[in-house]
Every structure is written in C-alpha cells, then in structure tokens.
Assembly symmetry: none
Homo-oligomer: 199 residues x 4
DNA sequence: AATGAATGAGAATTCATTCAT
DNA sequence: CATGAATGAATTCTCATTCAT
C-alpha cells in the first residue's frame, strides 16, 4: 500500500472515530457534520472527500464498528474452545456469556448501534470477511454434530443472537424493564433452552 | 364529555393519524411538522396547542398505536382462552401465534415502531390502562399456576415477547436474514421452549 | 383585496426592488440571497416564502420590470399618437425614438435585463395583461392599414424591436462598437427602412 | 514550433473542447471546473496552468469558437464572390444567406454564445487576425463603391450582422416567437433593406 | 382557540483555488 | 510540468417555534 493511500485510510479512520465519539456524547441526530469536522481537525470540505453524506458515514460506521468488535468476540471465544475440551452446550453457554459480557463492556457501541447490534448477522451469508466466515462455519459445524440440520441451525443461531442482543440492549442502556444484572441469568437460560430444544 | 372537549380529542386524533401516515410514507426524520400540519388541515401554530414538539408527538403516537393494537390482540386471545378449555402450553402457543399474526397484519405499524414494537412491555408495570392491566394479571396467574415465581414469570414473558417482536420485525419488514414464512415455526418453537423450560 | 394580501404584495415588491438594486450594483451572479435578504430587511427564511429560489426571483423580476416599463412606453406613445394626427411612418418614427429614449433612460434596467430587454415580445401573443394586449392590437391595425398582412406585420414588428434593443444594448451599456450618440440615427434609419420596405 | 509547445497547445485545445461540450450539455453556470477537469482527463491543478480562472476560459472560448467559425464563413463567401461576378446587392444577399446557414448549422455554438454570436464584431476594429482583417477590408470596399461613407458603412454592417444574429438566435434556439423557417425570409429582406436604403 | 406570516439559528453542501509532492 | 488532496469561505435552504391578529 502506498504512502498516500495509507494516509487516506488513516484520515478516514480518524473521521470515523471522531464521529463515533460525538455520536456517543450527543446522539447521531444531534451531531452536525460541522462537529465531526472540528473534532477530526479537518476542513469542512474534506469530509465530503471521504463520505457522501451523514447517512453514508453512519452506514459505514455501523459496519466498521460491528465488524471490528464481533471479530474480537469470535476470536476470544473460539480460542478458549480450542484450548479447553468443551461439550456443545458448554460451548454455547460460553459464547452467550461472552456475548453478554461484550454488550455490557461495549455499552458505548451499543448506545450508537442500538438494536442494530446484531445487524452484522444479516450480512453474514454474503460477507467478504474471510476471518468471520471461518468462525461462523466452525460454529455451524458444532450444531450439525449436535444433530441440527444446516437450515435449522442457521435459524436458531439467528434467533439466539437476536434474542440476546435485543433483550440486553434495553437492559444495558436503559435498565428497563429489568437491569442487566436482574435479567442476565434468565436471558442466558432462555437462549440455551432455545438451542437445546430447538432441533 | 363536553362538546368542546370532544372536538379537541377529535383534532388530536386527526393529527396523530395524519402524522402516522406520513411517518409511514417517508420516515419519521423526513417528515416535517409542516407536512403534518398540511395533511391535518390545521394551521401551523395549532399543532403546538396539542403537542409540545415533534418528539412529544412521536412518544404519544407510539403509545397510542401500540396500546390500541395490543389491546385488540389481548382481547382476542383471552376470549378464546375462556371459550375453549386449554392447557397452559396451548394458551402460550395460541398467544404467540396471535402475536405473530398481529405483526404480519400490522406491517404498517411495525414499519414506524421498528424494533420498538414491544416497547409497550416496558410501560406495563406502571400502566394506568385498567383493561390491559387486567389481561396482564390473568396471564401472569397462569404462569404462577404452571410453577413460575412471579419475578421469573415477568422476566420470561418479557424475553418471549421481545424475542418474537425482534425476530419477526426483521422478517416481516426486510425478509432478512429470513422471510417470515421461513422463520415463523422456528420462532414459535423457540419462544415455547423458553417458556416450557424457563422455570 | 384584504389587508394581509396587501401586505404580502407589498413585501414581495420590496424584495423585488431590493434585489434589483443589488443586481445593478454588483451583477446577478455576484448577488447572494443573503444580500437580498439583508437589503430587504427581512429574515432569511422569509425570502423562501415569496420565491422558490434565485432563478425564480430573476424570472419574476424580468417579467415584472420589462412589463412595468414597456407599459409606460406604450402608454406614452399611444397618447401622443391620438393627440396629434400622424402618418404611419411618423408614428413608427415616434415609437422607435421613444423606445431608444426609454433604453437610454432606463440604463439600469438594461444592465440587468441585458439582451433580454425585448423578451417581453416573446410573451406578447399569450399575455394576460389586457392593457398591453390592447396597445399591441392598436399598433398592429396601423400596419394592416399600411398594407401589411397580419403575419408579416408581426414578424417585421418583432425584427424591428429586436434590432433596436440589441444594437442599443451594446451601445448604451458598453459604447461598443459605437456609442449610442454615434449609432442612434443609423439605428433609427435602419429600423424605419425595415418597416417601409418590408411589405 | 517545438515539441513541448505543441503538446501545450494540444492540451489547451482539449480543455477548451471539453469545456465547450459541458457548457452545451448543462450551461456555463452549471459547469464546475471539476467537471471540465474530469472531462479533459487532467488534474485539477493543471487547469490553472492554462487558464487564469473560469471567466478567462469563457472569454478565450468565445473568441476561439467565434473566430474559428467566422473565418470559415468569410472564406466561403469571399471565394464565391471572386469566382462569380456579382453585384453589390447580390453579394450582400449571399453573405446574409450564408450567415443564417451558419447560425442554423452551428446551433451548438449558438447555444453557448447566445446573443453574443455577433460579439466578434466588437473586436473587429482592433483584431490582430490578419486573415479576418483582410476579408473585412474587402467587404468594406464594396460598400464604399456602392456609395457609403466609411463610417456609415461600418455602422450599417454592424447593425445588419447584429440584427440577423439576434433575430435568428431566438428562432434557431427557441423557435420563439417564430421558427427560423417562418422568419428567415423576413429577416433576409429586412437586412437587405437596411443596406439598400441605409446610405 | 385558531391562524399563518415571520423568524433566524443552524444544517448541508459546493467549488474555486492553493500547494506540497 | 503535472498532480490531486486539502481547504474554508460562501451559499443555499430547512424547519421548529413564536406571536400578533
């Protein structure tokens, strides 16, 4: 990659990160392009060299942020799976636990993505990120081993991820109608029941 | 109710309905107060006699729309429960089925409320609508009969409703990652498993 | 006409006049909406209550200004015609003389309208201004008396007006390639020759 | 001419031609330097190596385009004059005919130059193009032979060219208020009358 | 209560021009 | 000579809200 191309990517990242911070502080709607520009230390026109408009920025950011973090989650989980020798249900529990932890710890991301936390799921089938695709296949295999059909496995995985994301989003961000501490175990149990009895 | 107060309520409804249509057509963000005012056939200033501002309108609308329809859903379901003699699990299945039907049929409401379809849940505990409160208690009782603690029952009910709402929202509105026909049975089974094994 | 409607028309005029002055001072391109707004003593948004945008304003202004002044020209000329007893050629000469005088005296209008001074001609056939239509017919009648066919009369009238407008525009505004004093008599003679021998 | 200087001229032409195409497509005002630069296949900064700014480009283009074509017009006409033995009036008629043909055929140039088609006239007296100067003198001589004073000849020539250009501009571009076919003969007759009786 | 003209802060976007490479 | 990323002043336009009638 050339010097220039490097600098461009760097600046694009800088804008994305600055915008993200502002979206957190205020909210997406309350953040003006002008704020982003000032926070990024660039000129107003420069923004438009990198993004078509605010919604283009938001779209790119959701992908960038959710990819970035889901990758970390998957990497951490699969590593543990390989190290220790775990049963299918133990793996699922571990994964769900990690996902909830991830949501709790990344409250900032959650605040921006809202109920779209799990939106990376929709992009999974035709995603061009090899790393994530690999993890996905590895987990899918375990479902097949457990007796799931491929189709059913995909649907159940979707429902579980969505269930956890949706329920925890309200809990983590608003503690409504339950705090994350109150509902955590129930969510975990619910998710596991969906998997255990979903064949 | 007096003549005047009647007219006021009527005009308030007119505004809510006009706004709802526009929110559907365009989206909330793209709808200006001016549009709502024109569609309602009232003067610009009049809007502010009925609503503090746009977000006040939105809040009132979500409540109005989701109450209105959830009431219909609950009424229909509890009636059937009383007529036929059903077991707890049959009742739950019936309720979930009806909820999915309701989401499919009220695609327009879903389009505006998005993943907030189930937001009426958050308001449930301290809601001043007697009718709904009554239904809620009746269903809660069934959970207790089945062996649930009150607290756990509330959590599981929340998770189930949220699970169905969230998964079906994507399915009904975007058919992504699955169409509602593809995922319906899996969602239903998942929800039932959460209830059956959630004690 | 109601009080309000009166005030609206008044404000519209105020904007048109302020804009006209600025167009004169600077040029159309160099005048920002903001300048017009300041000069009119109104708020920025108010401008958009009266005009869609700058080109809408310009269009309305050209019509308004060229109508306004052409009416004065026609009125002045036809009055003289009725008072004194003049031959066709004398009438034409008088008219052309008056038109040149008008262009010289309304240098400001000319500066804004440029070669569009005669653009009111294009709108003549389907114009809804009764006053002007009346004058037009009266003059046309004289041509018919002189032996012109109706069609030919219209064409010759157009060419003459356009000839005078175009040649004098350059002369009055830029004195290029000739000053108006240098070319006036030649233009007048040319125009008269077109009429005299154009049958 | 050196290699380098050749390439420079070539690139300058390329920019002029690209700009001309865009001016035609959109209009001068709606064409950004950026568009011209892209269409020319050069870098943004390069533009400023060849032209001071947009108005400099426009000025150079009007001259370039109107010179280029007026030369062709004059060359074609004078050639015919020399071959055939024509009277003064026949020459004038031929010239006017050719000018109208030229305007009809160069509708694209007309669209950009608008009523400035005849603006080359203003530059005639102090033009450093020998070829055109020569043609001009030759035609002027014929007017003197016909009995015109030098000064009057220049004025009449100006009026005639301007008359034809202005009337035909509206006709060719907008067919308003008359189409070119409708008005052609009347314009021709008018122009000839100006010359015949303009002494 | 109802009206709608007026407001003006503020948002988005463009674009000619510069300058370091 | 050529490049094109960066600039930021300038401009257009929107829209929630107020207030005199």
């Amino acid at each position: 990659m050339s010097e220039i191309s490097n600098k461009k990517t760097e600046k694009r990242m800088k804008i994305l990160e600055s915008a993200f911070s502002l979206f957190l502080e205020k909210s997406v709607a309350a953040t003006a392009i002008d704020d982003i520009v000032k926070a990024s230390g660039i000129a107003r026109g420069t923004f438009y060299l990198y993004f078509k408009d605010k919604s283009d920025l938001l779209e790119q950011m959701i992908m960038y942020k959710s990819m970035e973090s889901i990758k970390r989650l998957l990497a951490g989980t699969t590593q543990k799976i390989q190290e220790e020798n775990l049963s299918f249900c133990e793996i699922c529990e571990l994964f769900i636990d990690n996902y909830i932890d991830y949501l709790v710890m990344n409250k900032d991301i959650l605040a921006v993505l809202q109920k779209n936390v799990s939106s990376w799921l929709k992009a999974l089938p035709n995603l061009d990120d090899e790393e994530i695709a690999l993890y996905y296949i590895r987990i899918l295999d375990r479902f097949l081993e457990f007796g799931y059909s491929k189709e059913n496995a995909q649907k159940v995985m979707y429902i579980v991820i969505d269930l956890v994301g949706s329920a925890c989003c309200d809990a983590v961000l608003y503690s409504k109608p339950f705090s994350i501490d109150d509902i955590r175990e129930t969510v975990k149990a619910a998710a596991l029941n969906v998997i255990k009895y979903g064949k």
